[in-house]
């Protein structure tokens, strides 16, 4: 019988061999699929097993993980949730948004930069902890912006930049949401909270500052002015352009008129044109320049780029070349040009920073668990939008807007403010968007702001000067008082 027993031994080895092959297939080849299957709850459980890093700004803690013990040990808590939610996003059982998502690898400690530390912790048997993310936001300004928008019941966004570095000092979107409702370790509850927000017609989950684009209205005239001044060195703030009461749009029967049918006196200097926001004057400038030059100027301010700050920013666009009539309307921000509030803040910041547009960023630094700096922001120039001379001329024009023009509501005592209003028609008969872009102090700019108030949320005849400018003033004041 020894022969058959030996054959049986071979058969048993084959059986074990098959099992081993199959396990290799499962745990080496198919492991990633099995790990990633959304029915595999392990990643969900694992999210609560380590202490996630904090998110801070200006010395304040905006989000941290609190040890609750038990299966879902570390739970995420947000202070002033709705104020910071558009930037922070949320940390939900199976997903994350905003900075929580963009900086996830630092926060959960899996970033390669943290590898050495993690290995040391493993050896010394320290509980794993993620790195802290410090944001560039200025809490006082952030709160001021949120309060101003929220109290008036408006929908809108505010972005403030440090013009010299590109650091985002304020980023608010209203209505907002409480990220804490989605941070609970109960998937069903978190999903219910999310679905409710997702279906809300006021779109609280959308970060209006960067995720959507809107018609910029007259704030775009700063770009048109920049292009016009750059196009010819001999032009300056006192150069005059035609400014008829009504301009027949080339190739059409329609007339372009000024806001509320006001007159600009037939011919105006650039300074006056911007100060009183004369539509026909800017239409003439654009027609003089042509589409390509206007488009190139806009691109130098960052229009057309997809940025990651590290939140991804919707692409702003001046629209395609659709002929002269369209170009005339593009010049005043009323054609198919669509801008994010961040993009308009970059326009103001570019003018403020002697023509240099800095790349905007939200993360100031990454701090390891032992308070050591792992990474810090390095300000980067995006492009030179205009020459320092032209920047100075634009600044002069924008100061005039706030001192004697449509933007007087943005004045701050003892500080020179430069700005530009915008009131963008959205559709025939529909209420306008109200815009205001500005920077201060004009001589040595510390902050550039774009305020956007969505159509209809601030009354039917809202103007940038009346609705948006006061908010910009409060935010600039808060940054300067910091």
């Amino acid at each position: 019988m020894n022969n058959t027993v030996k054959r049986m031994a071979v058969a048993c080895l084959l059986m074990f061999g098959l099992l081993m092959l199959n396990i290799n297939y499962l745990q080496a080849v198919k492991a990633d699929d099995l790990r990633a299957d959304n029915r595999n709850q392990r990643s969900f459980f694992a999210r609560y097993q380590y202490e996630r890093g904090m998110i801070t700004a200006g010395g304040q803690t905006l989000a941290k993980s609190v040890d609750a013990g038990g299966t879902f040990r570390f739970q995420r808590k947000y202070t002033d949730g709705p104020v910071y939610a558009p930037v922070l996003g949320f940390f939900a059982p199976e997903s994350e948004r905003g900075i929580e998502s963009a900086a996830n690898k630092y926060l959960d400690g899996t970033h390669p930069d943290l590898f050495v530390r993690r290995t040391v912790d493993l050896i010394t048997n320290k509980p794993p902890r993620g790195a802290d993310v410090d944001l560039t936001l200025v809490p006082k300004a952030q709160e001021a912006a949120y309060r101003d928008l929220k109290q008036s019941g408006k929908r809108g966004a505010v972005v403030a930049l440090d013009p010299k570095t590109g650091a985002v000092l304020t980023m608010v979107s209203v209505p907002s949401f409480d990220p804490g409702t989605m941070a609970v370790p109960d998937k069903a509850k978190a999903a219910r909270a999310y679905n409710k927000l997702d279906k809300d017609e006021n779109e609280p989950l959308i970060n209006r500052a960067i995720a959507k684009t809107y018609a910029p209205g007259s704030t775009f005239k700063v770009v048109t002015s920049a292009g016009y001044l750059m196009d010819d060195d001999s032009r300056d703030v006192n150069s005059t352009v035609n400014a008829p009461d009504a301009l027949l749009l080339p190739g059409t029967n329609t007339y372009l008129r000024n806001y509320h049918g006001e007159s600009c006196g037939g011919r105006a200097s650039l300074l006056d044109a911007l100060t009183i926001s004369c539509n026909t004057a800017f239409a003439e400038m654009a027609l003089d320049m042509g589409y390509d030059k206007l488009e190139q100027q806009a691109a130098k301010f960052g229009v057309g780029q997809t940025l990651a700050i590290p939140l991804s920013v919707a692409r702003s666009d001046i629209g395609a070349d659709e002929g002269k009539a369209a170009l005339a309307k593009t010049a005043i921000g009323q054609q198919s040009n669509q801008m994010t509030p961040l993009q308009m803040a970059m326009v103001a910041a570019g003018v403020a920073n002697d023509g240099k547009v800095m790349k905007p960023y939200l993360i100031n630094k990454i701090v390891g668990p032992d308070n050591d700096e792992i990474d810090a922001a390095r300000p980067e120039e995006l492009d030179e939008a205009v020459s320092p001379e032209v920047a100075s001329e634009l600044r002069q024009m924008m100061i005039s807007v706030v001192q004697n023009g449509t933007g007087t509501a943005a004045q701050i005592p003892n500080v020179t403010v430069a700005g530009k209003t915008g009131t963008a028609e959205t559709a025939p008969g529909a209420p306008s968007h109200a815009w205001f872009i500005s920077f201060a102090p004009a001589e040595d700019p510390k902050v550039a702001v774009a305020v956007f108030v969505e159509s209809g949320s601030a009354g039917n005849d809202a103007t940038g000067g009346a609705v948006a400018a006061p908010i910009a003033r409060d935010v600039m004041q808060a940054v300067l008082d910091r």
């Binding site: 019988m1 020894n2 022969n3 058959t4 027993v5 030996k6 049986m8 031994a9 048993c12 080895l13 059986m15 074990f16 098959l18 099992l19 081993m20 199959n22 396990i23 290799n24 499962l26 745990q27 080496a28 198919k30 492991a31 990633d32 699929d33 099995l34 790990r35 299957d37 029915r39 595999n40 709850q41 392990r42 459980f45 048997n125 509980p127």
Partner: protein
């Protein structure tokens, strides 16, 4: 002459206990960040048990294979550690219970070695063993005595304890097969006529095969115990093959099995459901099906996949997510925490136990021992193949215990008795034959 190698065995046994102790400490460190409080008592307890087993073995079976006991100790110990670990996150697992049954298993191992000085006594009990086996198999069907747990009626309640008589039936039936086949093997191998290329046995010799087949299918139908029926049938066919050395038996067995499986799949929904799950485990419709769905299988696969090559580390996985991770699915829970590396090592240890058993079979001097040792070893291998293959979706899943690892007293006792029998037979096989007096005479001649 074969050496006794008792010293080597003690070293290996200590090594096995040491590995188990390290694993035990590891669970505490991984789960709570500190060494478990009961470490010393637990360690001394396990070491004491193994020392007792070693001493009994050294006294009553001194020539036994030195590898078998340390290998089994390692698997049993790792099973204890896994159950202890699962207990931390699940109310159903009970390491204390399992430790008690392990102790009882060692007692049964010792008692078997002490009482059964010559295993050939079992040959004389061939038909008694057969009747006991069938009786035990049918026991759960007795009204008032049997209990249905998790959909299978394979339990018998005795006072506060529940036992699975099937585990002991398996043992008795293998003894019966060995005795019967030794008696009939010549007839089975030689009589009969040739049809095409297969040698067909005579109908009256085929009888026992058919009876076993009917009983297996009967168990499958009435107790919904697919695993045991597959195990018994496979064991019988394998032993038939060893005894008769005729491949035709294997083919006939396979045909009968396939026929039975196809008919059962058509007739009984729970058999068909297992097959659906086997073919398409990740299908969402099957996954969410309330009865006979793939939820448990997929959770096990998720566990093993998440463990990957090195595993999450003991105490750091999520065995509570896998239903029955302490019994049928303990292999998947081990795979999650010890990874591919750990499972390969574990399968290697099982393979070594089986191959040492089969080696005992080839070394045995009488046909009954050869057949019994071969049958018991194959039963172990076959059982590991069925349950591990099922959990890893290599074959359709049927409920069976993972030998020495799954929580459960009956299986542990029965398996320790199997090991005692193997050890007893290896002692007999390796014991040097009594020296002939003539040899001594020759030696004296040379001395002169």
């Amino acid at each position: 002459m074969t050496a006794k190698r008792r010293g080597a065995q003690l070293v290996m046994l200590s090594f096995a206990v040491a590995i188990v102790m390290v694993a035990y400490a590891n669970v505490g460190l991984g789960h709570d960040g500190q060494v478990p409080a009961g470490m010393l008592g637990y360690g001394l307890g396990l070491a004491g048990l193994m020392l007792a087993a070693y001493l009994v073995l050294a006294k009553f079976a001194p020539w036994a294979d030195p590898l078998i006991l340390p290998l089994v100790t390692l698997v049993n110990g790792l099973g204890l550690v896994m159950i202890y670990r699962i207990e931390l996150d699940s109310d159903l697992a009970s390491a204390g219970n399992q430790l008690f049954w392990t102790a009882l298993g060692i007692v049964m191992f010792s008692v078997t070695l002490i009482v059964l000085r010559d295993h050939r006594a079992l040959q004389r009990m061939t038909y008694t063993a057969g009747f006991i086996g069938l009786g035990l198999l049918i026991l759960p069907l007795v009204p008032g005595l049997g209990r249905e747990i998790n959909g299978a009626r394979i339990w018998v309640g005795v006072g506060g304890f529940s036992i699975q008589p099937g585990e002991f039936a398996k043992l008795a039936l293998v003894v019966f097969f060995a005795g019967y086949l030794v008696a009939k093997r010549d007839v089975l191998a030689l009589a009969g006529r040739r049809l095409l290329f297969i040698d067909l046995p005579r109908a009256r010799d085929l009888g026992p095969v058919l009876i076993t087949w009917v009983v297996s299918v009967g168990v499958l139908v009435l107790e919904k115990d697919l695993g045991t029926s597959l195990l018994l049938f496979g064991a019988f066919v394998a032993m038939l093959y060893i005894a008769t050395q005729r491949t035709s038996w294997v083919l006939i067995g396979l045909l009968l099995f396939l026929g039975g499986a196809i008919v059962a799949g058509q007739l009984f929904s729970h058999v068909g459901a297992r097959f659906d799950v086997y073919l398409n485990p990740s299908d969402p419709a099957l996954y969410d099906r309330e009865f006979g769905g793939s939820y448990q299988l997929m959770q096990g696969l998720f566990g093993m996949g998440s463990g990957g090559i090195l595993g999450s580390g003991l105490g750091q996985g999520y065995p509570q997510l896998i239903p029955l991770s302490f019994s049928d699915f303990i292999f998947a829970a081990t795979g999650e925490e010890l990874g591919l590396t750990g499972l390969m090592a574990l399968l290697m240890v099982y393979a070594l136990i089986v191959e040492r058993g089969l080696r005992t079979s080839t070394a045995a001097r009488d046909p009954f021992s050869k057949l019994l040792a071969g049958g018991l070893s194959f039963t172990l291998a076959w059982q590991v193949f069925i349950i591990v293959g099922g959990v890893t979706n290599l074959i359709p899943l049927t409920g069976l215990v993972t030998p020495f690892m799954s929580q459960g007293g009956s299986a542990l006792l029965a398996n320790w008795i199997i090991i005692a029998l193997l050890v007893r037979m290896s002692d007999a096989a390796r014991r040097p034959p009594p020296q002939a007096i003539q040899d001594e005479g020759l030696t004296q001649v040379f001395q002169r």
